[in-house]
Symmetry: none
Subunit: 190 residues, 4 copies
Amino acid sequence: MKLKDPKKTELIYAATLRLVKQHGLTALNMAAIGKEAKLGMGTLYVYFKSKEELINSLFKHLKQLNTARIYSSVKPNAPFKVNVKELYDNYIFNRVNFYEEHFFIEHCSGSHFLDKEARKLDESAFTGVFELLNRGKSELLVKEIDNALLIAHMMGSANELVNFCMQQKIKINKSFLDKTFSLCWDSIKK
Amino acid sequence: MKLKDPKKTELIYAATLRLVKQHGLTALNMAAIGKEAKLGMGTLYVYFKSKEELINSLFKHLKQLNTARIYSSVKPNAPFKVNVKELYDNYIFNRVNFYEEHFFIEHCSGSHFLDKEARKLDESAFTGVFELLNRGKSELLVKEIDNALLIAHMMGSANELVNFCMQQKIKINKSFLDKTFSLCWDSIKK
Amino acid sequence: MKLKDPKKTELIYAATLRLVKQHGLTALNMAAIGKEAKLGMGTLYVYFKSKEELINSLFKHLKQLNTARIYSSVKPNAPFKVNVKELYDNYIFNRVNFYEEHFFIEHCSGSHFLDKEARKLDESAFTGVFELLNRGKSELLVKEIDNALLIAHMMGSANELVNFCMQQKIKINKSFLDKTFSLCWDSIKK
Amino acid sequence: MKLKDPKKTELIYAATLRLVKQHGLTALNMAAIGKEAKLGMGTLYVYFKSKEELINSLFKHLKQLNTARIYSSVKPNAPFKVNVKELYDNYIFNRVNFYEEHFFIEHCSGSHFLDKEARKLDESAFTGVFELLNRGKSELLVKEIDNALLIAHMMGSANELVNFCMQQKIKINKSFLDKTFSLCWDSIKK
DNA sequence: AATGAATGAGCATTCATTCAT
DNA sequence: TATGAATGAATGCTCATTCAT
């Protein structure tokens, strides 16, 4: 596909995210996306060859974007705990500021829309954090527990805390982040 | 005369859960449910007046069931930490053994299917744990942090650990539970 | 079909008429008839082998009843005009008192439900009036116009007058009947 | 870009009338309309948002058309009887030439399809004839009987005569119209 | 005989996709 | 390229009929 106007792809992505947030993935349809993006319905098919492709394409795009965003904060030279804290803050910040994106990702996982490639992407993604945790272990700062479990524990906690805040319409500030990080840190630290 | 068979409701529920697990909520349709439940499609409408009602009804049923299951393990007379551990094990056990149910619940939340009543149910449910944590605080065993945050932290962690195990097809055993519980305990303990 | 309980047939007929009057022939369904007749839906099939047969059966029944009712008033020995007046009053009286029945008949005619036999019945039925009009002609009281046209003229007028009264909820009394009969009489009289 | 084709509405209307005439309102379904109109079934929903709306829309359209057609023949300057005759001929002519339309209208009235607006339209429509009859009375040509009754009488007669001719496949000609008009005129004239 | 639960063909409606402009 | 009208397969739901009790 030669994209004449790359901005249209963005418009379509944004419209899709807004709609899924508002009415759920189950209610998503092409006519609605066209309308929300202020484009003709046929135009969608200039940029994506099917609804499935649109969704997969957006899913992969978001996954990449998200991984990049999280790692943007990792600075290998900083002390270990500082690094973990920054990663933590950044992760939560991301989750909140791009809530629509994560909502979309979560509802796509497990839907029949995703192709194999997307499903694989869904499962990879945390190699950078692995390395960081290994460093923590070598510095005798982190418990000798499987990295995958440590990550699941921290990520799960962070996700749920964000969900809670979104539901209760609580704004997340520095004091909140410090408090909840202390929970995470105390759990993984040796 | 033939009487309405209460077992049919269960058959329909079970078929629905299986299908959503296998192909996602987005692919769910009445014909498929009928087939999976080995019932005529019309029969579904003897027990539920619409697809929406079927989904809401199942959602509410599962929420109640789940709440009951979690609390079944709380024994007020046991020492605090024992109680938390039992609750934790029970919660994870539930999550694993009724994975289909939680998968369904999570994909329904945020779909356009749920009515107001179901949405409300979705948000309540943790009063019992609140009380337990208060006891922990009064016994000077738990950090002075908002109960809601403590719960979100532990639940999120537990959920994600289960997801991880399901994806990796890891069986959860006592040693796993002890290990991951130690993460949770260390984070909330004073 | 051996009818165990002939009263049930009447119950079913009456329920059908009431429903068609209230919601129209297009909305008629077997479940509703059963409910309205306070009978199980299956019971309808003890008395009629199908919906079509029920409708045709009722249609024929009403046609016969109606023809009998109209002619009940013809007394061959009375003077001609007296006879016509009595027939007219009787016809209108019937139309009003058995409005449901005529509503049903009219909506059935032209529906795809009626079989050939019923359709034929629909077209016959006025031989008695034919003879009366012939007598009128032989007595030089009636215009020399095709009987069928005279009948259509009078019947059409009567039908529409009744419809008008039903819509406007006007009660028909002797003075009304005298006034409108004068219209009819003046038109056919020589 | 393709534009909505106003002729399609007419095609759909015409197909609907043909089908109702042939198989009755009770047998009408969207697939059949699409086929008869040589349009995809989905196309119907581009022009009407539901079957009900299609029927109501057509009903209202026909009512307006019909009222306009009837009055098109009223020429206030002509002598009274000439005017009534012309109206009469015109009314019958209409009834015959647009038999399908009247068949549709009659079967819709009393069906559960019509909305309030359509039902109201159904009841209005004869103000022009009222005025004509008033003129007839002032010219001492018409009996002092309620206009509504006079109209019901004439219309009912005309309707039934047309029905009779349609059933018997009789062609209506000038002599027929003169003959039957004489019946009407004799009934209303003073 | 009487009942109403069970059934699946049939119907109204939706929606991804194509097509004419 | 951009558009939205056109399409018909797919879906939710209804309802005449059958069946088990």
